[in-house]
């Protein structure tokens, strides 16, 4: 079970995203040709918990923040066949608020949770970014917090380069309603998070924008939980990019599988070559010697076995690469991926 951890301060939209994504992606996204990608919470009771947040959203109220960190188990499927199982950890934003203080317990708990994550998703709201662009201190603090968080992560995890990171900008509809250019905002974020997006990091970092609808507005200053009355919730997966973070995870898992299969194929090809060499050696032996001990049949069996394994590996690799390319096509549409600080058209995960 792969671990994917969602980090973000309070009100950055993690819980809303999980709830909306679980409802939207369980039906599946059509990647074309009747091939569907889906993310389904396979514990109905966890799904019921997520639905409680969605019910509030449908009624025009922002759901409550996460009281405790919660785990949700999802299957990522392609054509209803499993490509990965992930535990999504919705890390309590309030706990992170205290990481910058001298709360040692909070920091310890956080570093424990980092361990074993295969993908990191950092959430930040569009409202915080707009504030940061306007030099409002709170906005700047929220944005730089991601640097602090990842710096903590690098300190305690020597393999951090192998763990892809995605910056998920939530509430992207606010950019439209406040007339802020999205590309400018994205560029601003990339510049501010240079520790992640900079060169020589050997890291793969993605950035995307997600939204649950149109004109949903900010949480008002009086902390009212009501969504903007003129707003419209729209949970069709692709319309709000709800699928992108999950596809980023799927992409990573596919890449890992391809690397594994490539390794297995190489090994099997080597064994085939070894068996062929041994067969040639065996056939070169004199008939007299072979009369007393003949290994030809056994060697041919071994050769056939490794040839079949190699054939299966090739087929599996080809299927994986075809699906990988399909997912990459979708990922590229709505996410920018940086590898070692360079924005790539061809996405490659380590």
């Amino acid at each position: 079970m792969a671990k994917v951890t969602l980090y973000g301060l309070s009100r950055s939209g993690k819980t809303c995203y999980l709830a909306a994504m679980s409802q939207s992606l369980s039906k599946g996204i059509d990647l074309g040709g009747g091939r569907f990608f889906s993310a389904t919470c396979y514990d109905p009771f966890q799904q019921a918990q997520l639905n409680m947040g969605m019910a509030k959203l449908e009624n025009g109220i922002w759901p409550d923040g996460t009281g405790d960190s919660s785990d949700y188990d999802f299957d990522l499927d392609y054509c209803l066949k499993n490509i990965g199982n992930i535990t999504m950890k919705d890390y309590r934003g309030g706990l992170l608020d205290s990481v910058n203080t001298l709360d040692i317990d909070a920091r310890k708990a956080l570093t424990t949770e980092f361990y074993g994550s295969e993908v990191l998703l950092f959430f930040i709201g569009a409202d915080a970014i707009i504030d940061a662009m306007g030099n409002i201190p709170e906005g700047m603090r929220n944005l730089s917090f991601i640097n602090t968080l990842h710096s903590n992560y690098r300190r305690y995890n020597v393999n951090y380069e192998h763990v892809p990171v995605m910056i998920v900008i939530t509430k992207a509809d606010i950019f439209d309603s406040e007339n802020v250019n999205k590309e400018t905002a994205k560029k601003f974020v990339v510049e501010q998070l240079s520790a992640l997006f900079g060169k020589n990091t050997n890291m793969t970092v993605g950035i995307t924008m997600v939204s649950l609808g149109r004109n949903l507005g900010r949480r008002s200053a009086d902390d009212s939980k009501e969504i903007n009355p003129g707003g419209q919730v729209d949970l069709r997966g692709e319309s709000g990019n709800l699928h992108i973070p999950m596809m980023f995870c799927a992409y990573h898992f596919f890449w890992q599988e391809i690397v594994k299969v490539k390794g297995s194929l190489e090994k099997n090809n080597e064994e085939v070559e070894n068996a062929r060499y041994r067969l040639e050696e065996e056939l070169r032996r004199s008939s007299f010697a072979r009369f007393f001990s003949n290994h030809e049949s056994a060697i041919r069996d071994i050769l056939e076995r490794y040839q079949n394994c190699a054939k299966e590996d090739r087929q599996r690799r080809d299927n994986l690469v075809a699906t990988f390319n399909k997912i990459e096509e979708f990922l590229k549409r709505d996410a920018d991926i940086y590898v070692n600080g360079v924005k790539n058209d061809k996405v490659k995960l380590d």
Partner: protein, 312 residues
């Protein structure tokens, strides 16, 4: 075979069961279902009788498991379990850990699902019920994940179709999921409308036929294994030649003496007879399965109102 009904509270699961038993319960002509447990049989007979008077059964208060046998002309074709869980469990605020564990385990061990979609809710054009629909998808997913052998059948039953409304509003939520099932090679599904009242009660039989037919392959496999086992036993214990026969006669006499003193064992003659009986029994079951398979296939294909999403 485990057939599990899932659906929300008041979606019509219990009425469906009552109609099933009304149409097929304890029937000795044609197809039938027999409840193995006497108490359950009495309860089902009472529900079926109430349905004849236009009285719908109360929703299931507790989760129930029924042990049935599917029969033809009174002969057992296949045993199966029918699982009915209280519809409010998924949306209740505080289900117990035991209830949750039992429900999830039942899903994992299900061999077929009957998914109830409330026709009234499907007719609602708002997004109000999307949360409930996502719960059903989650349940289906729990049932089909990690199932590696054979094809998993799902029967979507749209209930309360006699009431007015356009069910396509709600069905459109499931369209992408139906399309996924259509292109999958390990899952198949049908969608059927169901009306259950004192006059109409054949629909549950159609759903049962579909699920049972798809469960035949694994049951047939088990019967073939049992036949092979019986044939092996016969090979071991069969009397061959005069010496064998004489030895067995002596053994039988000794066994009778021992039995007189409260002892006794299965002699070679006994074991041979048991193996022969088992072979006859298994062959009869397999012949019956073959006959019923063909008949059910013909029936299922004549029910044109069933909408298919299946891969042949």
């Amino acid at each position: 075979m485990n057939i599990m009904m899932i659906g929300h509270a008041r979606s019509g699961k219990t009425a469906f069961m009552a109609a099933l038993y009304k149409y097929l319960g304890d029937s000795n002509s044609g197809y039938g279902v027999h409840a193995v447990d006497g108490q359950q049989r009495a309860k089902l007979q009472s529900m079926a009788s109430d349905l004849s008077k236009g009285i719908y059964p109360k929703s299931t208060d507790v989760q129930s498991q029924y042990n049935f046998t599917f029969t033809i002309e009174g002969d057992e074709v296949m045993p199966f379990k029918w699982l009915d869980y209280r519809g409010g469990l998924l949306t209740s605020p505080n289900p117990t850990d035991l209830e949750k564990e039992e429900f999830v385990d039942a899903l994992k061990y299900a061999d077929a699902l009957i998914v109830f979609l409330d026709g009234q809710k499907l007719s609602d054009s708002s997004n109000r019920w999307h949360g409930e629909y996502s719960l059903l998808v989650s349940c289906i997913h729990t049932a089909i994940r990690k199932k590696n052998e054979g094809i998993f059948p799902i029967c979507f039953v749209v209930t309360k179709c006699d009431l007015d409304g356009d069910i396509n509003h709600g069905l459109s939520y499931f369209t992408p999921y139906f399309k996924q099932i259509e292109s999958a090679d390990h899952v198949e599904a049908i969608v059927m409308r169901s009306v259950v009242d004192k006059v109409h009660y054949i629909d549950p039989f159609k759903a049962l036929c579909y699920c049972i037919r798809r469960g035949f392959s694994s049951y047939e496999k088990r019967r073939k294994e049992a036949l092979k086992d019986a044939e092996n036993r016969l090979r071991i214990h069969k009397t061959r030649g005069v010496i064998d026969f004489l030895f067995n006669v002596v053994e039988t006499m000794c066994e009778e003496v021992a039995e007189a003193f409260g002892g006794g064992w299965d002699t070679e003659f006994d074991l041979e007879n048991m193996a022969e009986n088992d072979i006859r029994k298994e062959k009869r079951k397999l012949e019956l399965l073959e006959t019923v398979k063909g008949d059910l296939d013909r029936k299922i294909h004549t029910w044109h109102e069933l909408k298919w999403f299946e891969k042949y």
